[in-house]
């Protein structure tokens, strides 16, 4: 009887510690995803710049083409924007982009500052000549580079911390419950 109880206790403690360690790991993965998605967005913005300045594509077509070339969550963002622009549902690019961001928000790990950088770009898309848009692209890319740098520093600082914290809190809980 007593042996069985200690067995259950030990198993319960192991389950708690493993679960909280995994929670720490999963949370630290989010930081990695943020850097990955920001890099993906930077690449997409470069491609959008090419589409506009070199191919002279229409904005919905340009969005569609960069959506085809980018990876999972980011391509959905541009696909949605392209669809909304094709359907003429919104007055300007900014509102279409904003609504697209809201639809795919659950899959994006980037934070509000990063989203603002893209939305700032969409405010001027299609509203000036190529030179003006080029300037805006340069500004956006430099802002994105800054955000990537910040997120990389943040990732390197915190990724280990979240892992250790997950394990420590699990162990703490297990000790308190024994």
């Amino acid at each position: 009887m007593c042996g069985g109880q200690t067995m259950i206790k030990i198993i319960g403690c192991i389950v708690i510690i493993v679960a909280s360690t995994m929670a720490g790991f999963i949370y630290s993965e989010r930081l990695k995803y943020r850097v990955f998605q920001l890099n993906e967005i930077e690449r997409a913005v470069y491609q959008l710049q090419n589409e506009i300045t070199y191919v002279h594509a229409l904005l919905p077509d340009a969005f569609k083409s960069i959506a085809d070339k980018s990876k999972e969550p980011i391509n959905e963002l541009f696909n949605k924007t392209s669809e909304l622009l094709f359907d003429n549902e919104y007055e300007n690019v900014y509102e279409a982009m904003k609504s697209a961001v809201n639809t795919v928000k659950s899959k994006l790990y980037i934070n509000a500052d990063d989203i603002n950088v893209i939305l700032d770009l969409s405010k001027t898309l299609g509203e000036s000549d190529i030179q003006g848009q080029n300037n805006m692209f340069i500004l956006t890319i430099s802002n994105l580079k800054k955000q990537i740098e910040i997120s990389e520093v943040y990732m390197n600082k915190n990724i280990k911390m979240y892992r250790y914290l997950g394990f420590s809190f699990g162990a703490m809980l297990a000790i308190a419950l024994i």
């Binding site: 600082k157 280990k160 250790y164 914290l165 420590s168 809190f169 703490m172 000790i175 308190a176």
Partner: protein, 65 residues
Amino acid sequence: MLDVSLLFKIGATGILIIIIDKVLKSGGKDDIAVVANLAGVILLLIMVINLVNKLFTSVKTLFQF
């Protein structure tokens, strides 16, 4: 006889609090480290409050003639 397992529990909790404090401080989150320390101290107090209570009642009975 005093229950020795409680002493081990307190020791292990103390070690874990030190680890959490170190990890949080190395991550630059000093304010959260302070909160975690406080939470650990409160946790330990909750663990020993029964013993403290027992001590006080026994002292009280000692002075009741």
